[in-house]
């Protein structure tokens, strides 16, 4: 039991991302409201963004801004800086996520104008008639 808890604590960032991902997944599948599904999708994407960002962290690492002269004279001690690459990648992923959300919201607007509701059950009922 102790071993399992120690394992969870040692890799807590992975556990958090898995839990968040499952929350988002549940919202996408279990919720009947289309906006809640979209929020679930956003939680899902955020979980992956957090996963990436957490992988760049180093114990005792600082902000990766390097003084040019210092670096040319003494070189760079990589252990002193967090890895900036995952953060940069996630900037792009955030942009992608925002675009998806934007398109989805625009489409939700059209759905609302068409059916007058955003509840999946009611829409399906109207389609059935």
């Amino acid at each position: 039991m102790h071993a399992i808890i120690a394992e969870i604590i040692a890799k807590y960032n992975y556990w958090i991302y898995v839990v968040l991902m499952m929350i988002g997944f549940y919202a996408m599948i279990g919720k009947r409201n289309l906006v809640k599904k979209l929020i679930g999708l956003n939680i899902f994407q955020t979980a992956i963004i957090l996963f990436f960002v957490s992988t760049g962290v180093k114990r005792g690492g600082g902000i990766p801004i390097v003084d040019k002269h210092e670096a040319l004279l003494h070189g760079v001690d990589v252990a002193k800086f967090v890895n900036p690459l995952p953060h940069v990648l996630m900037l792009t992923a955030i942009v992608v996520g925002v675009s998806v959300t934007g398109v989805a919201l625009a489409i939700l607007l059209r759905i609302y104008r068409e059916y007058g509701t955003l509840e999946e059950d009611e829409i399906l009922e109207k389609l059935g008639r």
Partner: protein, 496 residues
């Protein structure tokens, strides 16, 4: 503008064209069609030159912005990628003629918006065929997906709802792919495909690598609508505006199958993907066989021509996934040839559906009565497409199916071979049912026996690309020998 960068202009032309179309289209709608067609014609011509160059001089490596790989984004155009570039730009160009005609009718006043998204989608697809960077692939995948969501959402009736379901499913697929890339980055510290492949050689057999592979594969399967994950496709493609479906349906799933081949060969290795766990490889071929059988059966249940075609697309994805995972040269040849052939067949059938719906307004099977008399040219081309789907020589569908069956026999995967034959039979039933309905005249009441038959073909803008595609189906079939020997067997990546 130097010709050594020609491959980059294949991508840049539609991307810049999209902005030009949006701006010029606001001034006058007359600019939209010539600009779109011009840009795509340029891309097609450039792809032909690039394909010739790649076949002569070997793979082109290009570093964008002169940032050297593995730090910068690298474009890699190997023979397979060059073939895909030509396929994408040629299919898009042909489909655009029909799209111009149907968008002018379906979405009057919004042509510039439609074609701006349409061109960005094509730019994204050409980018997917060239990129050599795993994260860049994710971004391009999302560019193509987001524009597709928008294009489908422009349809009427149920289209926005289908598009929303596609957004949820498609984003889950993209997130899975991204997560897989994340694990690869943790393992190797690199995002360049060639660099990852080099570092991974010593890491085969770790659990993290298997996780990465599984996430990437499932993500791509969702995007390509591999059978149990196909739920979003039939509604989305059947509800999309006619102008969007003639381009999206032939290209999106096929390009994603190409990406699967790319990922297996350029990031992982065939030794890892196929041969390290033979039971996984055999299981995926069985899943493909199941996909073919179930999707074909579902196609039988449809009463609308376009919905029926969407289920056939799902079955065809099963063909290609199975062909790749047969893990032998015959199967891989068949899968790549089928990417080309299936794009052309789907294009032919969707163009025919667009032409029919422009005249009859509906694609209910029962409403197709007497079409052979009213639209003889359209139905002749439809018949060629149908024969190709069934796999009757000399249409091209026969040859790729032949390679797939040979591959299945060589691998001893009798379930897959059986599924292919079953699906051919089902396709024969499906299409001969339509041909029968359309061949006999409508129920004209008594006294109307000598009713004059009015020939009412679709407009030339829809008819011409359809005829060209039907001829291409037969031409590709007749020349599939040179195509396989000259391009595809060169294109099959090393290690095979």
């Amino acid at each position: 503008m130097t010709s050594s960068n020609l491959h980059l202009y294949i991508l840049a032309a539609p991307l810049l064209g999209a902005f030009a179309v949006n701006l010029a289209g606001r001034v006058s709608r007359r600019w939209v069609a010539p600009l779109t067609l011009g840009v795509l014609a340029f891309s097609t011509a450039a792809s032909i030159v690039v394909l010739g160059r790649v076949l002569q001089e070997g793979t082109i490596h290009y570093t964008v912005g002169n940032w050297r790989p593995p730090y910068g984004i690298e474009l890699v155009i190997d023979p397979l990628g060059a073939l895909m570039l030509l396929l994408i730009s040629a299919v898009a160009l042909t489909a655009t003629f029909s799209a111009v005609a149907s968008v002018a009718r379906d979405l009057p006043g919004r042509e510039h918006l439609f074609f701006a998204m349409y061109l960005i989608l094509i730019a994204g697809l050409t980018g997917l065929a060239m990129t050599g960077d795993a994260f860049n692939l994710y971004v391009l995948l999302e560019i193509t997906s987001i524009t597709t969501y928008g294009l489908i959402g422009m349809g009427s009736g149920r289209a926005p709802l289908s598009s929303f379901i596609y957004i949820i499913m498609g984003s889950i697929g993209a997130c899975f792919y991204l997560l897989g890339v994340g694990y690869l980055y943790l393992l190797t510290g690199s995002l360049n495909m060639a660099d990852i492949a080099r570092i991974l050689q010593g890491l085969h057999g770790t659990a993290a690598l298997a996780t990465a592979f599984a996430f990437i594969l499932v993500g791509l399967w969702i995007k390509m609508a591999f059978f149990p994950l196909h739920g979003w496709l039939p509604n989305a493609y059947a509800m999309a505006p006619t102008g969007a479906s003639v381009m999206v349906a032939p290209l999106m799933t096929k390009v994603t199958v190409f990406l699967m081949i790319r990922v297996i060969f350029s990031i992982f290795s065939p030794a890892y993907a196929f041969f390290q766990h033979p039971e996984v490889q055999a299981g995926i071929v069985w899943a493909a066989a199941l996909a073919i059988v179930c999707a074909s059966a579902l196609a039988l249940a449809q009463r609308d021509l376009r919905r029926m075609l969407t289920y056939i697309i799902v079955a065809e994805v099963g063909y290609m996934v199975g062909g790749v995972w047969l893990a032998n040269t015959q199967g891989m040849t068949g899968a790549i040839l089928h990417i080309v052939n299936d794009a052309l067949m789907t294009l032919c059938l969707f163009l025919a559906a667009a032409a029919i719906s422009s005249r009859t307004g509906s694609l209910e099977l029962a409403g197709l009565r007497g079409l052979y008399r009213r639209m003889p040219v359209t139905m002749a081309a439809f018949t060629v497409g149908a024969f190709s789907m069934i796999g009757i020589p000399p249409t091209c569908g026969f040859f790729s199916k032949w390679y797939l069956i040979l591959g299945g026999v060589e691998a001893g995967q009798w379930g897959y071979v059986g599924a292919l034959l079953f699906s051919s039979l089902v396709n024969a039933v499906l299409f001969f049912r339509i041909i029968e309905i359309a061949f006999f005249p409508g129920d004209s009441g008594p006294g109307h026996e000598h009713e004059k038959i009015v020939i009412a073909e679709a407009p030339m803008m829809m008819l011409n690309p359809l005829v060209v595609t039907a001829i291409a189906l037969i031409a590709v079939g007749l020349w599939s020998g040179p195509l396989v020997r000259g391009i595809i067997q060169v294109a099959i990546p090393g290690g095979f």
